[in-house]
């Protein structure tokens, strides 16, 4: 009898628990899908200036927006490849715009001061912006670093054409088989549709501001 009662309770509680688990598993933001219009932003650069998609005059055809940060080893593994992307595509109208959205309270390595240091150390040749309110990462649906959004300019709008990883091998740049971002931008420059417009990769979760101390 007792056993039966326990089973009944379990049966009653289970869907509630399952629902709780499902709700909490939802990612913090739905964000953009390929084809959406990306919103503009005005964020502070490491040199103190404010940078927007609309006022960044090198973004003549579009932009390669990369959510990245200082502390994440995956982001670090891609630093040189991000510099190379900008070297290759800035002059062709698709400059890199890097954005750090991590909560510096959670990770001091990702503070504005440390962003300046890293940019100097590595010789970043692109804007490295701080998204202090995390509004832009939330709007775009960036979940990790690095996380790339390739945008194409259509009139005054910036359309999302690619979302995902830079390439398919963080461990070894020389072993890369698919340069996703390069392929996407090359296709856009050639007036083609992007053949692979969405990829996934492992990265460090963006450190969201939170009341609890669980996110660090």
């Amino acid at each position: 009898m007792k056993q039966k009662f326990r089973k009944m309770i379990t049966l009653a509680v289970m869907p509630v628990l399952a629902l709780l688990v499902m709700t909490s598993a939802k990612s913090p933001s739905e964000g953009y899908k390929v084809g959406d219009n990306a919103r503009d932003f005005t964020l502070k650069n490491i040199d103190g200036s404010m940078v927007s998609l609309s006022n960044y005059n090198l973004a003549t055809k579009g932009a390669i927006v990369i959510f990245t940060c200082n502390h994440c080893p995956v982001a670090q593994a891609y630093q040189d490849r991000i510099i190379a992307l900008n070297n290759k595509y800035q002059s062709q109208g698709y400059p890199v715009i890097a954005i750090n959205s991590n909560d510096a309270e959670a990770v001091t390595a990702d503070s504005y001061e440390n962003m300046k240091l890293r940019a100097k150390e590595k010789g970043f040749n692109f804007p490295y912006l701080i998204d202090q309110t995390q509004e832009i990462a939330t709007a775009y649906g960036a979940t990790k670093t690095p996380h790339v959004f390739v945008l194409q300019k259509e009139g005054n709008a910036f359309k999302v054409k690619y979302i995902g990883a830079i390439d398919d091998n963080k461990d070894d740049a020389s072993a890369v088989k698919h340069k996703y971002v390069e392929t996407a931008v090359n296709e856009l420059l050639a007036g083609k549709q992007v053949s692979q417009n969405f990829t996934k990769a492992i990265g460090c979760g963006i450190k969201w501001k939170t009341a609890s101390a669980s996110s660090n």
Partner: protein, 165 residues
């Protein structure tokens, strides 16, 4: 001379013993593990030593593994550490924390090829955890740090399906 040789042998064998629960794998091995036709509930945690929230929640999985040791529950810790840091970072980490659970370093950097096979809702950030039971056809995926209470609550919904354990 012989004494030295034996001494070295002892050291080598002891290293192997402490690290026998750690190995390098490709994704197909993880996939096989996920697809085992079994009534055991598998708790698969994706983590890395470089991921602070992962390291923070890791003791919860170790605790879970021992709390359920006489139940049909198996914990697998899938590390996404850099393969070149297998010996220099992962092994020392596991040894220092005396982690007895299975630890597999997943050396398969073509992430896009396998992330969806774990769960299509996974964006790719870690920590991420998959709990599944193929016999009960139950599967839950979370992409966030879990407290022990959350993890325990999650796993108990799986094993409460089978009171005969």
């Amino acid at each position: 001379m012989l004494k030295h040789f034996i001494y070295i042998l002892v050291i080598i064998s002891s290293i192997k013993v402490t690290a026998q629960n750690v190995k390098l794998v490709k994704f197909d091995e993880v996939e096989k593990f996920m697809n085992r036709n079994s009534d055991t509930t598998y708790v698969i945690n994706f983590w890395a030593t470089w991921c602070n929230p992962c390291v923070h929640e890791l003791p919860n999985f170790v605790k879970l593994d021992s709390a359920y040791h006489n139940k049909k529950v198996k914990v697998l810790l899938v590390s996404l550490d850099f393969p070149k840091e297998f010996d220099t970072k992962l092994i020392p980490f596991v040894n220092k924390r005396k982690i007895q659970s299975q630890v597999w370093l997943l050396d398969d950097p073509d992430y896009n090829a396998w992330i969806d096979k774990v769960d299509s809702s996974w964006s790719g950030s870690i920590p991420a955890t998959l709990v599944l039971n193929n016999k009960f056809k139950m599967k839950k995926f979370t992409e966030k740090e879990l407290s022990f209470a959350e993890l325990n609550g999650l796993v108990s919904t799986f094993i409460s399906n089978d009171d005969n354990q």
